[in-house]
């Protein structure tokens, strides 16, 4: 595999670059809450950064709870095979 083509993503620096772009885009999206007034259907939506914060918290909670669920739910791969 020595002569395999080196891919752009193989370089750690490129991944860093990509992540920085991503962080800036998150910040920019959050900043639109200062300038843009949403037409809303529900009062919660008026909170600053509601959607961003909700998305971040929701996913973190999702992953942490799922991780805890593993303790109760996870079995060997052949768990059902010994019947």
């Amino acid at each position: 595999m020595n002569n395999e083509k080196k891919h752009w993503l193989d370089d750690r620096a490129n991944i860093k670059k990509l992540l920085h772009w991503f962080y800036w885009m998150c910040a920019a999206l959050l900043a639109t809450d200062f300038v843009f007034h949403r037409h809303v259907l529900h009062a919660w939506e008026n909170l600053f950064g509601f959607y961003g914060i909700f998305g971040f918290v929701a996913c973190t909670v999702l992953v942490l709870v799922a991780k805890e669920m593993r303790k109760a739910l996870m079995r060997r791969e052949d768990y059902y095979d010994d019947q």
Binding site: L29, Y51, V63, M74, R75, D78
Partner: protein, 566 residues
């Protein structure tokens, strides 16, 4: 244009017969031709009821053409078409025939106008589809297929009971809106619920779909559950219970999806999550909600089909499907990777991708109708779906750590099929008005206003930010080779264990009795031996003289007895 009233299923059933008789080399092309011919027929269908005939004391109608049935009709033809292209390399006759009959049965079910015919196609759906699971030809697939079949037949039996009761009590055979206030309707509702994968009734889906063949799963994911969604939309719009069932369906599977290793099983869980949005929309029941529900069904078949195809291609090329075994495949399968990302963006409802234009209608309807907590649950599920289907699927299959697997790109027919589905995802996402014109109610909804686009982007980007943070800090749970227990534990573990234990207990309880019977038995045997055995007086060997003497003795006794009695 000539107006036809050929029911769409007929083309598929006739096609299946031709397919079975055709030479091997021609079969894949015939399979492709069937949905093309079907699309041509669809274009000539005339609104209204056709093909009615008397069935026992009732009226059966095989063809009801209206907006709702036509929407699913177009959809199932499209799914059958990209499925056939994806399976063009397939030489297995049983899969080709069963997939064609299966697609035809789905079309039959959405076009019939009466309950008896619905039941017939409901059962045909079950029986034809199971061969797509068994065609994998592994012991695991065989067992999962059997469990799948039991569930599907169960749904059919409940439907039959409900329909018979309904016919008996109302004298009506028409399949139209029902209210949930009588036993007959409740049974029909439950039968739909099994096929729709309601919570606790969902395990046939997550159990069996990932065990089917790479091409089989593409067909399976398109039809069964969407026929159920259609049936709910037809019979139970505005049934409030569906709002809560749907919301539960959007939320619980995403936890499983995060910790599941088999990537096709992740997609199966995410399928329940997407059906949840549809069920919720049907439950809300306003025009906006129903439009949202059925258009989301339309989009889901296409983007879920696309994702199943990309994972099918990965399985086909690498022979592996567990997240823990894969990674870095973007190097050898770059086109499949691109298609997967398009599917992932669509299911995550990124603006300009198909999921966005339909799911947002259900969400908007939930807020409008005052279901604030339900709306929050749907929002949570939206963030979650991006997390497990939008990021996890492409990330662990094609990126993550390089597994070192080097394979060829997917075969050209698979790439074309994925291309068709990806093209549709983009087309509907960018220009939703074609889809909107097919919906049952006029659409006043504007998907691309600034609020919708910005809020959705914020939600998705910050969900991705959470993934990035959890991954970089190592909190994100690794992909582990494992089985996660779900409701199927009840009948795959608890049930068999109980039966086994009951048997042991039973044997233990009857042991003394058995002992007594054995003892008693051997005692009787000994006594018999003693009295009638070869050494006993009666059973032993006698001389001829002794035998005659005994006979004469008995004769004398009888004679005397007779004389005395006279």
């Amino acid at each position: 244009m000539m107006i036809s009233s050929l029911p769409p299923f007929a083309i598929f059933y006739i096609g299946a017969v031709i397919l079975a008789l055709a030479p091997r080399g021609a079969r894949p092309w015939i399979m492709l031709l069937i949905p093309v011919a079907g699309l041509g027929n669809m274009a000539t269908l005339d609104d209204g009821l056709h093909l009615s005939f008397a069935l026992f004391d009732f009226q059966a109608t095989l063809l009801r053409v209206d907006k709702l049935s036509m929407l699913f009709g177009w959809l199932f033809h499209i799914a059958a078409l990209f499925g056939a292209v994806f399976a063009l390399h397939e030489k297995d006759l049983s899969q080709q025939v069963s997939a064609t009959v299966y697609a035809g049965s789905a079309l039959g079910a959405v076009f019939v106008e009466d309950l008896i015919s619905l039941f017939v196609f409901w059962e045909l759906l079950a029986v034809s589809s199971v061969f797509l699971i068994w065609a994998r030809r592994t012991a695991k697939a065989y067992a999962a297929g059997l469990r799948y079949l039991i569930y599907q037949i169960l749904s059919g039996v409940i439907l039959m009971a409900g329909v018979l009761l309904y016919l008996y009590t109302t004298g009506q055979n028409s399949f139209s809106q029902l209210s949930l206030d009588n036993t007959a309707s409740a049974l029909i509702f439950l039968a739909f619920g099994v096929k729709c994968a309601f919570p606790f009734l969902h395990t046939w889906l997550t159990d069996a779909y990932p065990e089917a063949t790479p091409t089989g799963t593409v067909f399976l994911s398109a039809f069964t559950t969407k026929v159920a969604v259609y049936s709910l939309a037809r019979a139970f719009p505005g049934t409030e219970m569906l709002v809560y069932i749907g919301a539960a369906m959007t939320c619980f599977p995403i936890f499983y999806a995060v910790i599941e290793n088999d990537l096709r099983r992740v997609l199966a869980y995410s399928m329940i999550n997407q059906i949840g949005f549809m069920v919720c929309g049907i439950g809300i029941g306003t025009e906006l909600a129903l439009n949202g529900a059925v258009s989301h069904a339309f989009n889901d078949v296409i983007f879920k089909g696309l994702l199943m195809m990309t994972m099918g291609a990965v399985l086909f090329r690498t022979g592996k499907i567990n997240g823990s075994d894969l990674g870095g495949l973007y190097k050898s399968m770059p086109k499949t990777t691109t298609f997967c990302i398009i599917g992932a963006a669509s299911i995550s409802a990124f603006p300009l991708f198909s999921g966005f234009v339909s799911k947002s209608m259900v969400m908007a309807a939930a807020v409008e109708e005052g279901y604030a907590w339900i709306w929050l649950m749907l929002l949570f599920a939206s963030a979650g779906v991006f997390h497990h289907a939008g990021i996890k699927i492409p990330f662990f299959a094609f990126f993550a750590h390089d597994s070192g697997i080097r394979v060829r790109e997917a075969p050209i027919n698979m790439l074309i099929a994925m291309g068709i589905a990806a093209g549709l995802c983009l087309y509907i996402g960018i220009y939703p008005w074609t889809l909107y014109s097919l919906l049952p109610y006029p659409v006043a909804y504007l998907p691309f206003d600034t609020t919708h686009v910005l809020t959705q982007l914020q939600l998705l980007f910050f969900s991705a930010l959470a993934f990035t943070w959890l991954k970089l800090t190592g909190i994100y749970p690794p992909e582990l080779i494992s089985t996660n227990i779900d409701a199927d534990w009840l009948y795959r573990k608890l049930g068999p264990t109980l039966v086994k234990n009951v048997r042991v207990l039973y044997l233990r309880a009857i042991a003394p009795m058995r002992h007594a019977v054995n003892e008693g038995g051997s005692m009787i045997a000994q006594l018999t031996q003693r009295w009638y055995g070869e050494n006993s007086g009666l059973g032993g060997v006698q001389t001829v003289g002794a035998t005659i003497a005994i006979a004469l003795l008995f004769f004398a006794i009888i004679l005397v007895w007779d004389l005395l009695a006279a």
